[in-house]
């Protein structure tokens, strides 16, 4: 009797463990099949023909229409360069450069990948809109309050994630030798 109970408990445990690892792998809690670039993460070869089952399942589950390999690359960050979760109460700056690409855009999104409501009703910054220093470097300010210079508005409060899209990038897969120094840093300036 005890043996049967034990077997049933073990099976149930195995079922739950298996489902949890799937869920965790797809939501990013487990870093399976994800490439890192500083605070940024890119799903490995997402949407590509040779996409691995994790990338494929992630795309299918989210309903995203992914960018093709030759088209662009979407990087995501949910925490700053020090590893703290991003929060709209804080002021951040992002820069001073991005990986080489013909065009890029930066957007603040919610956990489902949709733009966040903000007072300015601006959801994205384009590479063409950026004001740069004479040496080509730049800083983008992220805050709920309006700021001079390159400003990406945040909602009044709550967590958020950043999406950096590189169009026609020099690197098509992160494995192609990109180093994390080329990725923009996300620095928390202050909170409150």
């Amino acid at each position: 009797m005890r043996a049967y109970l034990l077997a049933a408990a073990l099976s149930l445990g195995a079922l739950m463990l298996g489902l949890w690892t799937t869920q965790a792998a797809l939501t990013g809690a487990l870093p399976i099949s994800v490439e890192r670039l500083g605070p940024w993460r890119a799903p490995a070869r997402s949407g590509a023909d040779e996409a691995d089952p994790y990338a494929h399942a992630r795309v299918e589950r989210s309903g995203e229409i992914p960018l093709g390999l030759g088209e662009g690359l979407r990087l995501a960050a949910a925490s700053d360069s020090d590893g703290n979760a991003l929060n709209a109460r804080c002021l951040y700056r992002v820069g001073p450069h991005v990986p080489s690409a013909r065009y890029w855009t930066l957007e603040a999104v919610d956990e489902d990948g949709f733009p966040l409501e903000n007072l300015a009703q601006r959801y994205v910054l384009r590479s063409g809109e950026i004001l740069r220093e004479p040496d080509g470097e730049f800083w983008i300010w992220l805050s709920a309050r309006a700021r001079a210079g390159n400003w990406l508005p945040l909602p009044a409060s709550g967590g958020f994630a950043l999406t950096l899209r590189l169009y026609d990038p020099a690197l098509t897969g992160l494995a192609a030798g990109a180093d994390s120094a080329s990725a923009p840093r996300i620095e928390r300036v202050r909170c409150g």
């Binding site: 073990l10 298996g18 996409a51 795309v59 299918e60 088209e71 065009y103 855009t105 957007e107």
Partner: protein, 194 residues
């Protein structure tokens, strides 16, 4: 714990690990088959075959397509290769980034080309099944090779997506017009016969 010696604990943990692994792999591989709201289903809900439909611009109010870029105007065209190859065409961007991507029924991007690959002001490709490709290749004239970029779709149905990046907010209407100018048309092989 005398009824459960160390050896049995190790054995039990190994069994749990193997079973959990099986459950993990099964559920992972089942997701693409059971996903109800994948990209193709979302496109199918707003479009019909061979018609170009603009996707709603990404904003907090329209939550149809996650991770869409608010700076990008996009349109989609569903295709079906049952009646023959399908020609997809889109005008080249005057300035800025434009791309055509080709998506299978299973949510995979099997091909993409950007405005840098445009020829005579057009981004163009002929979508074919493996059988149609064989027929076309057999009919090719060696002295006068076809100029078509032929790409093989892994599934008979799928959709083409045009993306046009607006370089500034006021260029968004122009980008939308350009994305909407994409076409996909069935081009039965018999027509090409002479």
């Amino acid at each position: 714990m005398s009824w459960l010696p160390l050896g049995r604990i190790v054995w039990a943990l190994a069994v749990v690990g193997v079973l959990a692994g099986l459950v993990h792999l099964t559920s992972l591989l089942a997701i693409p088959a059971v996903a109800q709201h994948d990209a193709y289903a979302r496109v199918e809900a707003i479009g019909r075959p061979f018609a170009t439909v603009a996707l709603p611009p990404a904003s907090p109010a329209s939550r149809a397509f996650p991770f869409a870029d608010p700076a990008v105007a996009s349109s989609v065209c569903l295709y079906d290769l049952a009646k023959g190859p399908v020609r997809a065409r889109a005008p080249q961007a005057r300035a800025g980034f434009a791309a055509l991507s080709f998506h299978s029924r299973r949510g995979i991007v099997y091909f993409a080309l950007t405005d840098r690959a445009a020829n005579k002001g057009q981004m163009e490709a002929l979508i074919v099944t493996p059988e149609q490709l064989r027929v076309l290749v057999a009919r090719d004239d060696e002295d006068n090779p076809s100029q078509d970029l032929r790409i093989v779709s892994p599934t008979p149905r799928g959709f083409v997506m045009a993306r046009v990046l607006s370089d500034s907010p006021d260029l968004m209407p122009a980008a939308e017009a350009q994305a909407g100018a994409m076409t996909c048309e069935s081009e039965p092989i018999a027509e090409a016969e002479k």
